[in-house]
Structures are given as C-alpha cells and as structure tokens.
Subunit: 456 residues, 2 copies
C-alpha cells in the first residue's frame, strides 16, 4: 500500500512549476502575479458551463505545504539547489482568490477564478488549479444537460466503475449532484460529501441463486424497505412477472416493492410492457428505474420514443463526459508586479490584467449578456460574478453545503434562455469586452510586438 | 484537508456491492465464485489492447480491510444489520487472481483477469477492479498508438493538468510509460513510480520578465545543464533567434542549450524554419521539442507534412484518451459454487466458466489467432496468457519494475501484425472459442432459458 499512502498534493504538479519556482527564487523574483483560469472554447454541443470544484481547491490552497519526503525526493533529482529546497520547507500559499461561485453558469473566455499571490506561489499551484476545476466543471455541465433532458425524473450517478480513477469518481459524484442529480452509487462520496447513496443488486447476485425468483425473495428479505429488483438478467418480461410475485409476497407482509430496474434491451418498448405488467397486477406505485449507457442524448431519445421511466442511473458517459472528455481550460498569467502581461501565441492569445465578469439581465431576470472588464471597473445594471473567497491564504467562508450549491444552480439554470440549453447547442451567448479592457489589450499587444518581434 | 485524509479504498465502491454482500451474509452464501474481467468491444479506431493496471490492483486486494470510520459511516446509513458490519471488520481478501501480465497485448472478449474468492469478496471488489484496470489499459493502448506514430522520436506525458483528477494523472504517467513513453512531467509519478521526469518553463515565466531574452538568460543561469527554452510566447522565429543568442552565451561558458520547445502554430513550417535557424547558427545539436494538442493522429499528420521534431510532449488528448475516453469493460460472474453461470441480457451476454486465453503464433513469431477456452483446457502450440498472480490473498511475486513491463510491451508490439496497428484500425484480430467452451456456453444458455423464461 505504501505508494498510495505517501501521496501528497503539493507534488501533484508538472516539473516545470518547480523549475520555474527555483529560477524565480534565484532571481529574487517575489513580486505578486495574477493568473486567470478560463475556458478557451466550448466543447462540442455545449453553449454554457456550470462552475464546480472550487471548495476542494480552496482546501488544497489553504493547506499547501511540502512534506519532508517530497523534499527528499526533489533533492534526489539533483535538479534543485539546497537553498531553494530549504525555502520550500516553509512555503505556504498566502495569496488571494476571486472566483465565480460553484453552481453558477459561466461562459467561455470568462475568468472562472483569479489567483493573486507572489509569483512563485501562483505558479506552483497551476497544475492543481486546472485539474481541480476542469473535470468538476465539465461534469456539472454534463449533469445539467442530463437533468434538462430528464425533466422531472430523478437521476443517480452510477459512474464510479469507469471514471478515470477514484478521485474522478468523487469529483463526478459531487459535481453531478451540483448539476441536479439526487445522489450517487459511490459510497465514499456519501461518506465524504454527505450525498444520498443508492444501489441494490447486480446481475451476479441473481446468477448466484439457483433461480431468479430465489434471488428476488432473498433480497426482499434482506432489504424489505429498500427493494429494487434488477429484472433483465435472463428475460425482462419474465423478470417483471417474477417481481410481481415477490411484490405480492411483500404486500402480504406489510412491505412494498419499491422499484424494478431495467439495464438492457429496447427501453421504450420494454418499459411500457413492464409498466403494463405492474399496473395490471395492481402495482401502479412500483417505479421503473433504468440504467445502461445513458447520457443526455439517450435519455432524450428514449423519452421521445415513449419510454415510461421514473428514474435513471447515469454511468460511464456522464462519468467521463464521453462526448467531450475535457475542457480546453487554461491558467494564464495576466499581471506581474503591476505590469499587465499576455501571450501572443498563435491561437492561444490571453487577456491581460486582473478582470471582472459582469452579467446583464433582461427585465424578467433572464441572462442578456456578459461583459469581461478590468477588475476595478463597475458596469451599470450588471452583477459582478467574481467574488473574493480567499485572502492571505485563508478562506473567507466555511465550505458551502452542496444542497445550497445545487439550489444556486437550479435558480441560475432557470434564468438561462432556453436556446442555450439545446443538447446540440450551437447558439453562442454574447460575451464581450468592456472598452477599457479592449483598449488595454490593444495597447499591451502593441507594446509587446514592438519590443519582442525581430531579433535582439 | 480532512476529507482527503479520510479516504479509503474499501468504500470506493458502489453501494450495491455492499447491499449484495449483506444479503449473501444473511443467506449464509459463502461459496466461491469466479468473476471475469473483459472488454466487450473495441473503442473507435482500436483493434488491440495493451494490458496495464494490475500491480496497483494487487496492492489493493492484498491490503483490503474496512476502516473503523468506514464502518461507522455504514452504520449511520441504517441500511445494514450490526452482525454484518461486525463481520466486515475482520474481512480480508483471501482469493486468487489469474491475469494477463501488464504490457502484453490482448483483445476484446478475452478475460484480462479472473478473480476466484468467496462470493462476497469477489463481488465487493468489483467496482475497484474495473476502475483499476479500465483507465490504465485505455491509456497504455493510446500511448502505444502515439509511440507507433512517433517512430523513434521520444514522447513525454504532459497530461496532468487535464487528467480526470490526480489519481488519473498517476495512472496516465504509469500507463503511458508502459506504452513506450520515456517519462512524464508528473512529479508525484516520478516519486512513486521512479519514472524519469521532464519539464522546464511555461509562457508565464517568459512573461514575468521584462523581455523574453531576459527570461531565457535567467533560466539558462538557473539550469545550465537542463536548458530547454519555450520560444513561442510572442513569435516563434524571433524566439528562436533569441534562443541562438543564449546558446552562444552558454557555449562560451562551456555549457550547451539542450532544446527549444514549440507549443503553437503551424508545426511543420515552424519546425523547419527553427531547425534552419539553429543549424545555420551552428547549433545542429539543439533539439526541437513540440507540445500543444498532440495525440497519435496529430503526430502522424505533422510528421507526414515534414515537421522536424525530435520529441513530443503529449498532453490532454492522451491523458483523457480523447477519441475514446472509456473501455466498455465488464466484470461478470462466470461460476458460483462450481456451477457455471452467465447472463442473457440483450447485447450483454457473458461467457460462463473460468477461462484461459491461448495465443497461437506464426512460425516467425507474429500473432496468428487467440482462442478462449476453459481454464482446465490445454491447446497445442499455443501459449496460455492468464497466469496465477495471487493466491490466498497474497501476491506470488514482487511488483514488477516498469522498465521490465515496458520491455515486454515492446516485444509484444513487435509481434503484432502491422495491419492491427493502423491508427484508424478496422481489422479484427481473430479471437475464437474452443469447442469445449462453445458447447458449455450453449448448454448453460439452454438450461437457463428452460428454467427462467416464462412466468413462475
């Protein structure tokens, strides 16, 4: 087990963060820098983003400290001078963070958060910052799309077995809850985040009994208050009839079968047939739960085809955001030592200066447009989205309850105009620069071109 | 930080593993079961798989034990009887594992590993088993494709910032090394797995200096033996000329510029122009390193267009296996209490009985075809691939050195016929069932249909 126990988050980083830090140290460069985190372009089918991942990131920043065994490893690489490694021993994160709160909706190019700290600190956390926000934002967005497709049907995260590792499983459980799910199959996420957990039986359970009905009866005996029977191991309709037999037994004992689960086959047709079997046998209250390859597209499609499903388990395609498995998210320096900076790399230009995002709304509350401006600007009739969440390395607020974040998401999502919710979304929400940001951007680009292009 | 420190791997599981276990406990079902792990279908563009992830999985199985705080949490859910939770307190994994070694090439439908243990144990580890093998196999396969496209050019894993969490970052570093990469930017992976680590500077480093050349000089001073200059922050060709200036300074001091890095723009054209600048200035030994959105497709494309690149940093698209972010991998019960079992679910039929995979080769050593048979079969002139790696819950061998696994991969890959390596691979390698497995499968399916279809 050794390996796993020795993990620490401070060296969960790209080597270049440390080589740059060593060089800053040698050059005595300790001035403050601001970095902006933003998404460069929408992944396919998306026209908005749901912010998520901030709280675990603040936790990391607040507790940032290299461990002795990390420093020992770094010493072994022979890349770094001892004086630098000694300096790292006592290094903490002492900067400030401004961020768009979790659960809010944001758009491309907008800073989702900005970090201001002595340059070495702001740089050292880069890899972790991107990693901590990228997947949660991706998944909360994907989950919101599933929620939208499912309407008032309940959704449960079933993705753990095929998420990219166990961290990802936790991030997906947390982020899908933010995006409207009611809970997860992930027991650890239940423990750590207090999320409702769901789950009953697999096909193997059915197979381990001589007959399917024996399995159903055994499970109803073990979990009389939480009986959901998986009925497709051999034949879904035969399974449904056996479930009815068990439901009748349960009713005689004063208990009730909660639901049956379908996990394969022609869902619209099977769900209607199962609904009919249950209804005609006097069990209209037994719910139908469906799983197996669902995502927003398949949910939308089978519901449009008349599937009668009360709740969905949504697994792999949510957990890896299968149609768009990453965000093109970047963390770029925008100011160093009070000097606005940017890069001009082809196709990857960044916006100079610390910034603020301003949201303008219609009279009915619907989003109208966002403006990206300088951090010190104010824009009339617009709400600034970035708020100060960490100062001098300390959080300004206790971690938010996930129910509060989910509620914030629901309110925001209700105010996002419908055309941006299309699952094959092309419309681009208007995000513009204020004239002051635009002027600054032009000036800085021009100065850099004059200074840097050509030979030396 | 609390949350992260309280994580444990035993409850990194789907709730249903625990509800089934509780029911097995209540039913006194402790007979042995065998489960098979296999991939149902090739992801797009693939026609082989590179096995990876076994060693960390064995580590998990060997140390399996519920922690007091996990059991406390489970008690709080009120789902489980106390007697069951008391039983879990002392539960260890006491089963056996047979697996195809890491670095070997396997194909769909073939069991990559089989677990035999008392049913509760074999079931409880399901979620972790799939999770532990799915991403590593996916990434080792993706990495092998990048290696194939790059020919003799070196590849470095640059994916950490956009992997799905930090676990994934470690899995990707390890698995891409198995698939032929020379190392990673991931410092933690360097520490834990002893992998070579790489990295020098980001654009922000360049921007934090008044002039690009000042940044280059500062870095060369800090790392005179490991100077790689990122030259595209403002303009790649101007950057290349400044790099030459620094290389000349370094040469006067008895040092040498190692490489320049390009991270954006038209790679074929820019790399040729940069090569020309370096060569004409007397620096033919300075290497060109490229990064920015690479995967096997982009590597193949720019090399075909005449790019002059010595090494690639391969990031996000490797780290999330962007064109195929998951394997349809399943862990299915195949035998319970000496009775072969299978499921008949539409499109998800499983193969009964513990099995073995036999590989037949041409006289020149190239793979000819694989046969899946019963575990007790032998097939003439064929190599059995599944080997016993754990018995009574203990590993039979020390963890393998990753260099040994990489070497095994290289040998295997050399024996895979070229047509299966096509990046847009359609050819399907022949994987057949032995007649004994086929007969058993037919018999068990028939028996189940007779017993289970229709009402009760």
């Amino acid at each position: 087990m050794g390996a796993a126990r020795q993990r620490s988050r401070e060296i969960m980083t790209d080597l270049y963060e440390l080589t740059m830090a060593a060089s800053y140290f040698e050059q005595n460069m300790f001035a403050p820098a601001t970095f902006s985190l933003f998404v460069r372009e929408y992944p396919p089918n998306r026209s908005y983003l749901v912010c998520a991942g901030l709280d675990p990131l603040l936790d990391y920043l607040e507790s940032f400290q290299f461990r002795p065994d990390d420093l020992e490893y770094l010493a072994q690489t022979s890349l770094f001078p001892d004086t630098f490694l000694e300096f790292l021993e006592t290094l903490h994160f002492t900067g400030e963070v401004r961020a768009i709160p979790e659960g809010r909706i944001a758009f491309c190019d907008e800073p989702l958060l900005e970090v201001t700290a002595p340059v070495m600190q702001a740089q050292l956390v880069e890899t972790f910052v991107i990693n901590a926000i990228n997947l949660p934002t991706l998944i909360a967005t994907k989950a919101s799309r599933c929620s939208h497709a499912a309407g008032d049907r309940q959704l449960v995260d079933f993705s753990l077995r095929r998420t990219h590792g166990m961290d990802a499983g936790l991030m997906v459980a947390r982020s899908s809850y933010i995006g409207g799910f009611i809970g997860t199959s992930n027991v650890q996420a239940g423990k750590i985040y207090g999320l409702p957990i769901y789950g009953t039986m697999a096909h193997s359970y059915v197979e381990s009994f001589d007959r399917e009905i024996d399995a159903f009866r055994a499970f109803a005996k073990s979990f009389p208050d939480n009986t959901v029977l998986l009925i497709d191991t051999y034949d879904t309709l035969a399974g449904a009839r056996k479930a009815v037999t068990v439901a009748e037994d349960m009713r005689r004992n004063g208990k009730a079968l909660r639901a049956v689960r379908l996990d394969s086959g022609d869902m619209p047709q099977l769900s209607q047939q199962v609904r009919e079997i249950l209804d005609e046998s006097g069990f209209p209250e037994v719910r139908i739960f469906a799983s197996g390859g669902f995502d927003e597209f398949k949910i939308q499609k089978i519901l449009a085809s008349g599937a009668v499903i009360d709740a969905f388990g949504v697994g792999t395609r949510l957990g890896v955001s299968a149609d768009a498995p990453y965000l093109n998210m970047a963390y770029k320096m925008v100011e160093y030592n009070d000097r606005p900076v940017l890069k001009l790399s082809s196709g990857k230009v960044s916006l100079a200066n610390p910034k603020q995002v301003f949201r303008q709304r219609e009279e009915n509350g619907l989003f109208k447009r966002d403006l990206i401006g300088l951090d010190e600007e104010t824009v009339a009739d617009a709400e600034p989205l970035l708020t100060l969440v960490m100062k001098e390395g300390k959080r300004l607020n206790a971690p938010e309850n996930l129910r509060v974040i989910q509620e914030r998401f629901r309110k925001e999502f209700a105010q996002l105009p419908e055309n941006y919710k299309d699952l094959h979304g092309i419309p681009t929400y208007p995000v513009e620069m204020t004239s002051r940001l635009r002027s600054l951007q032009d000036r800085v680009s021009r100065e850099i071109r004059e200074k840097e292009l050509g030979t030396v």
